[in-house]
């Protein structure tokens, strides 16, 4: 396995009934990523529970409560690799009471797989998952029409589901959709194209996962470098060294580039972009680097390096879609801590514009609060300006988290729609 392969993060959404665990089990098994001792532990646990089949869900349901209740509660991360790619699966539970977990899993995903049962077709849950994946701007969507073996590998059944989903996806602004008929149980169209569905001319699921083009998903245009930490060795070897460490959110940086620092607005040029392994010719996302400038200007954590002609908004009035993740409701007037890139501030909820029904996409402007797992659009006023972009343009500088100042818990995820 070459260390030069790249990486794909994908989220799977669906319930046990849709065959999600079987699908993941199949991908892990066929890529030889399930180990013998894991398999025998699962077999023993299945036997002990009286299951008459090897319940692959026990591989992913890692917590005692999950195994006892036979449900997935939380996001589980699984890993497998083929000679082409390393994969990270964020395995998320499907039910509506776990919307926040799906949102969490989707936040870092390059691709989302939405599973449907071919016998049942699209259900409320499938539409919700598709909506959440697009809300979080997962760039690639796969609709996996599973259990094709139970509908006699019928092209008509597949076409009907595919057409209906495509019509729905058009409303959601899905950038890349692939529909694949498969049987996770029988292995049809998982690793290789199935002989049972000669009418299907697309790729197998694994082939698609291995080849889907993700490097162009990144924003290489807008230079955004949130300063995470200032490195000042103050040692005899480096008495005057001052470097700004951070992770490139978007755009590219190289020595000689003219830059502007926000919120101060001071300008300078880049002296060097460095790592511990030496200078780099050009830094791009998601590299973690250290930037040195040609002028001594006051820069600290939370500031943002960008280009003079291409800057993010410097804004304290933030409109955002929110996924609320706490038991106590969010109402206008609530004060919260906000963390956005490397910047922390406080925020007050000025207005709840509407709550969204995640199943019907209906907007309810009369809503007065957002409850656990609700999604809605709010307006915030922050104590300090955020250096931000619209989430649709920039996932890194458009997303933020809300934190309860009393409990310190993360209570909301926000995606900026506009800012001024």
């Amino acid at each position: 396995m070459p260390p030069t392969m790249d990486m794909l993060r994908f989220a799977t959404a669906g319930s046990v009934d849709d065959g999600k665990s079987t699908l993941i089990g199949r991908l892990l098994f066929d890529s030889k990523s399930i180990f013998e001792d894991q398999l025998s532990a699962v077999e023993a646990a299945s036997t002990a529970k009286g299951d008459d089949y090897v319940n692959l869900a026990l591989l992913t349901d890692g917590l005692r409560a999950e195994r006892e209740q036979g449900i997935t509660i939380d996001v589980a991360y699984r890993y497998f690799a083929t000679p082409r790619r390393k994969f990270i699966i964020a395995d998320t539970p499907g039910h509506i009471q776990y919307t926040r977990n799906m949102v969490t899993g989707a936040s870092t995903a390059d691709l989302a797989i939405i599973l449907v049962d071919a016998r049942k077709g699209l259900v409320e849950q499938s539409r919700r998952h598709a909506f959440l994946a697009t809300l979080l701007r997962v760039p690639h969507l796969v609709l996996a029409v599973n259990k094709m073996d139970l509908v006699d590998y019928s092209q008509e059944v597949y076409d009907e589901i595919s057409d209906e989903f495509t019509r729905f996806a058009d409303k959601l602004n899905v950038s890349d959709l692939t529909v694949i008929p498969l049987s996770a149980l029988k292995g049809d169209n998982i690793v290789t194209r199935s002989a049972n569905m000669p009418w299907y001319e697309g790729p197998s699921l694994l082939h698609h996962l291995e080849h889907v083009h993700v490097s162009s998903d990144r924003n290489l245009i807008d230079v955004r470098f949130p300063v995470q930490y200032v490195i000042r060795p103050q040692s005899s070897q480096y008495p005057d060294y001052r470097g700004y460490a951070g992770t490139v959110a978007s755009g590219t940086l190289k020595a000689g580039d003219e830059i502007m620092v926000l919120p101060s607005g001071f300008t300078s040029t880049i002296a060097a972009v460095e790592t511990a392994d030496g200078p780099v010719a050009e830094a791009f996302p998601p590299m973690a680097v250290t930037v040195r400038l040609n002028d001594e200007i006051d820069i600290s954590r939370g500031d943002m390096i960008c280009r003079p002609q291409n800057a993010p908004k410097v804004a304290q009035n933030i409109d955002a879609m929110i996924c609320w993740m706490a038991d106590d409701a969010l109402r206008p007037g609530r004060k919260l801590a906000i963390k956005h890139t490397s910047r922390s501030a406080r925020a007050v909820v000025k207005d709840l514009e509407y709550r969204l029904d995640v199943n019907t996409l209906h907007r309810d402007p009369a809503a007065t609060e957002l409850n656990l797992n609700d999604i809605g659009r709010i307006r915030l006023r922050t104590t300090q300006p955020l250096l931000c972009d619209e989430y649709a343009r920039n996932r890194e500088t458009g997303g933020f988290i809300l934190i309860d100042e009393n409990t310190n818990r993360t209570v909301g995820a926000g995606m900026i729609t506009s800012a001024d």
Binding site: D6, G62, L63, D74, V103, Y229, Q237
Partner: protein
């Protein structure tokens, strides 16, 4: 560079993610410490910490929770590495905790579980607010569910059903007095990634990771090296075998595996083709129950 050239390998991506996490902790939490056992994962983590702050020194101490059941090669390695980096080493000693009555020796003589009170005691004593651990999510199904920033209450406990949601690469490090965050920068690395990185970066490791001749005995299908804290019982025959260690932990609990892999290339080939998980092949401590790791983590284990 054209757009298609702006690509990172999986190792570069993982390295960048880990460095981001380590910097974030130092920026947000006042007193971090890095848990360093001298095992390969904590060695890689320490290397990443070195890179994260270059050319400055690592701005936090390292701590070894020492069960007293050590492989000498690993202790020697630990001391050498710490002095190279010029970082402070704190040893939280289980034997010392036994002497002062903080913990008592379990009847079976294994010290895995009594490490937890010793760790918690040391975190409290030095008022550490964050502790970096080298755990990976591919190691265990409870770990597969754990956050990168994993909140611990004032008793050091993990509450798996009440974890903070973790989105994008935005981490919530807020705590109150007495609480702390366990941070796992290697969450998304697999055993194979670790080995490939060790090779790529030419990172030195303790010699026991490489194939060598050792006196061993078979206990429950696992090969244990004969050690002052791990002696054969009656009926357990001692023989010499070519083995290596896949994990390095408490010498009374960590088994060796039969292996001829005496180079990094050979180890990578072996890891890529093995059909048994790392902990399953080498750790007596995880076999007690299906939820052994979850239970220990709830109590405050690494």
């Amino acid at each position: 560079m054209s757009a298609s050239e702006y690509r990172l390998t999986q190792l570069q991506t993982l390295e960048a993610e880990s460095i981001h996490i380590i910097r974030e902790v130092v920026a947000e939490l006042e007193r971090p410490v890095l848990l360093f056992s001298g095992g390969k994962d904590s060695i890689v983590m320490l290397r990443l910490a070195e890179k994260a702050f270059f050319p400055a020194r690592i701005p936090f101490p390292v701590m070894h929770v020492d069960t007293g059941h050590n492989f000498q090669e690993v202790l020697d390695f630990r001391d050498r590495r710490v002095s190279e980096l010029g970082v402070q080493l704190i040893v939280a000693s289980v034997p010392e905790a036994l002497d002062r009555g903080l913990v008592s020796e379990p009847p079976d003589g294994t010290r895995n579980r009594i490490q937890t009170p010793v760790l918690l005691d040391a975190l409290e004593k030095y008022r550490f607010t964050a502790a970096f651990g080298g755990a990976r999510r591919d190691e265990d199904k409870a770990r597969a569910k754990e956050r990168v920033f994993s909140f611990r209450d004032e008793f050091g406990q993990w509450d798996p059903k009440n974890q903070r949601p973790e989105l994008w690469n935005t981490y919530n490090g807020r705590i109150q007095m007495g609480e702390n965050i366990r941070v796992f920068p290697l969450s998304n690395w697999t055993e194979l990634d670790i080995w490939q990185y060790v090779k790529h970066e030419q990172i030195a490791l303790p010699s026991i990771y490489f194939a060598h001749r050792r006196e061993v005995f078979d206990r429950g299908g696992m090969l244990y090296g004969v050690h002052e804290v791990c002696r054969p019982k009656a009926g357990e025959e001692v023989f010499t075998e070519t083995v290596r260690y896949r994990t390095v932990g408490d010498a009374s609990l960590t088994a060796a595996v039969r292996s001829d892999a005496d180079t990094l290339e050979a180890i990578i080939d072996e890891v890529a083709s093995t059909r048994i998980t790392e902990r399953g092949a080498t750790r007596g401590d995880d076999k007690f129950s299906e939820a052994a790791m979850e239970d220990r983590k709830r109590e405050g284990y690494f």
